[in-house]
Symmetry: C4
Subunit: 252 residues, 4 copies
């Protein structure tokens, strides 16, 4: 079989689309943010990606029906603004080769759809609970920094120290070097200890600003509050009455 099989069942005509990639990763921040956009913008599925670079696995839904693990692409036509493509998925490629190949082939498809700007979404692990997560940025071209800063993204020098590992980094890197695509990575701060809607909410806010989207954030706020209550409860349990909250360490 082909190492990557893209089953594209719709051929949307798009106007200057931007691609947003949100695959599983640190705190699942990117995945939660991207799936939230898909849901709230009622985006339309148009391609499934199967691959040997994904685990050999099916999931089972509540009716007993299996679903082969995959990445999926959605689109949304937006009047007067750039149209939107969103990449979500069950897994990132599980090997080094898989990381490169999957990013490359998705970028090839993006080029055919005339994408010229890519946003990759991810988490930035702080190792502790953060009250209000910042969104850190990285870009393919310095000229992009200003617009992102204006939208609330921060570019602290020397962070993230090790650069960006995985899909969120490789899509920008390959996009820049091999596809002449501009791109930015938006990393929501997260403790990294659990799937974290708080970091995701901040990332979605930035995207709403940048791309003039109309997205109701209330569900994500609700989920963030629930997580906050759980983590506060856990902190109290762990630390007794000590109220110091900024250095929880691993508790899960």
């Amino acid at each position: 079989m082909e190492k990557i099989i893209i089953n594209q069942y719709k051929r949307p005509r798009l106007a200057s689309p931007v691609l947003i990639g949100g695959l599983p990763g640190i705190g699942n921040v990117g995945k939660i943010a991207a799936e939230y956009l898909v849901e709230k913008l009622k985006m339309e599925k148009f391609a499934d990606i199967y691959s040997q670079y994904l685990p050999p696995q099916v999931f089972i839904d509540d009716t007993g029906v299996v679903k082969l693990v995959r990445n999926t692409l959605y689109y949304k036509k937006l009047k007067g603004r750039s149209d939107l493509l969103v990449l979500v998925g069950d897994f990132q490629g599980t090997t080094q080769e898989g990381q490169y190949e999957m990013s490359y082939q998705i970028l090839e498809l993006a080029r055919k759809l005339e994408v010229s700007m890519v946003y990759t979404l991810g988490g930035y692990s702080t190792g502790k609970i953060v009250e209000i997560p910042r969104v850190l940025g990285a870009v393919t071209d310095e000229s992009l920094v200003k617009a992102l800063t204006d939208s609330g993204v921060v570019f602290p020098k020397g962070e993230p120290g090790g650069g960006i590992v995985g899909s969120a980094g490789v899509m920008l890197g390959l996009g820049k070097e091999l596809f002449s695509m501009q791109g930015a990575c938006l990393m929501g701060e997260t403790s990294g200890y659990f799937a974290d809607p708080k970091g995701a909410k901040e990332v979605v806010k930035i995207l709403v600003n940048l791309l003039s989207l109309e997205v109701d954030l209330s569900d994500l706020e609700e989920r963030s509050k629930q997580i906050e209550q759980i983590t506060e409860k856990m902190q109290e349990d762990v630390q007794g009455k000590v109220t110091q909250k900024d250095d929880l360490g691993y508790f899960g």
Copy 2:
């Protein structure tokens, strides 16, 4: 060499055949069940599959003759019913790529033989000894649930939680997405601590019902009883006279 070499030495003409896959896995339930069918139905071997995705190994029989590890396909023509294909083997593909490729190429061969329905057999690990193992099901299409339920298969919501990993899952997933084949996975409950004929017996019973097979189950019942006696003995040894049997934990 080709990564997978299928040596098909017979070309059976089959009437609406179903493919049953039973490779080694949890409790070897699928393998035991599939090999039992091959033996009791006196099925005919028609293809051997060698591969770089299998361990680099030969087995040695009692006469000193080596046998390269492989997967093997058998067939049986059955009057008035669907003909039968059974896949058995020494190993599943040992890598992620191997899992996908081997499943894909076996499905390709199955399509040439006009297979339109695939059953994959496996074990479902309960982590404890079960008196009467249930057979859990998963399907490629909700319309298949009723016939399976009528034959005794159960579809408990949220089980198996992580989906199905390995050949039993991938063959259904690829069959559905790339070959338009319907399929079902039958998972016999097993402690998972040893090769388990009890779970296999329940799986064979379901297949006998579903496919109107005539299979003498007495040998499998005999082997199940032997295993039961051994595990009861072990429980007594481990737990003294305590007769509580439903939570043995790991003893082997």
Copy 3:
């Protein structure tokens, strides 16, 4: 680059040649035996095999000159008997794929040279020091058992239990299934704790018998005695005056 590069710098014309494979493995028995034949029969090098399946490494000789790791083929024309090919090397293929591919390509070359019989040499780990190592056999065809037994090879039922893993097994398995070549594996018993000339000596003796070779065994006998003295010394040191020698366990 090609995954395997065979640099064949001579084209020997051979009469009904047999191929003997002796790569590193358990106790290095096969490698020691094969290299001994190459040396004592003054065999001629005719092909080097480089590969991505071997470690990315060069060795350095006493003059400071590097040598890329490799497998090497030697030949010897023998009047009135089968000509001889011997395969030796620094390493076996290091991955499952490498095991299959390297064996396959060497067999392809062997077929071009009209080889119809393959002997693979290896060690059989006993886990203890053996006074007089046996040579265990495995064959591609039951008809080969008698001649081997007559030459002193033993075929104990159920040994080796797990079959033969690695080059010594795969070359026979692929030779049989894909090249219609007959073959036998000769496994010299060895503790498995160190490079073992004793097991190798017994393997060479068998080959001398089987193939009517003229090989002076005195050097190998000398090296075996040296090893015996070292291990006896170690046993005394380890066990005090206890002279029981048959169950040393791991001491190295």
Copy 4:
């Protein structure tokens, strides 16, 4: 995508160029030495190499701009002497296959540029701090030993015992066997516990001698002194007032 993508954006015409390879490795000696040459000789970048054999990662510079990990080639035209090519990079190929493939394709490019001599730079781990690191050599041809010895390289018998593993070895090995290129490996002694400019300085000195380069060594001397001060401090801290310096063991 191609497994290795070489983006060559300049086509220098070179006179009998030599290639110097200095990728990350033991004590980063080779990388530090090669990057020092690039900087001090104001060498010109002419090709970037991206690959699936490198980690799926981007680095981020102080302006927030990402850079896909890579290897890079520089050149320098030198009047009256051999022109110079230098290979530097963020990583070596991370797999065995990657080690071979990347070395092979770089050698292919080198051949097109008419390179006939390759120097690979590396570290030789002594496991302790050395006052004045030696530079050990290994060559593809014995005739090269004299010129290297005259330049201060040493060829101690039996060192390095295990040969040379990784890019520094494979480039010589493949260069010799498949490209008829001569080559030498220069290994600066280093404790191996940290990035070590002292070993690198000695390697650069040798190259300056061998290739009649004009390179100001003062920066590297400065960095070596700093490292020396730090390690002396650490030794004092670790060992109290004990001044014995030649066997630090792992402290970092």
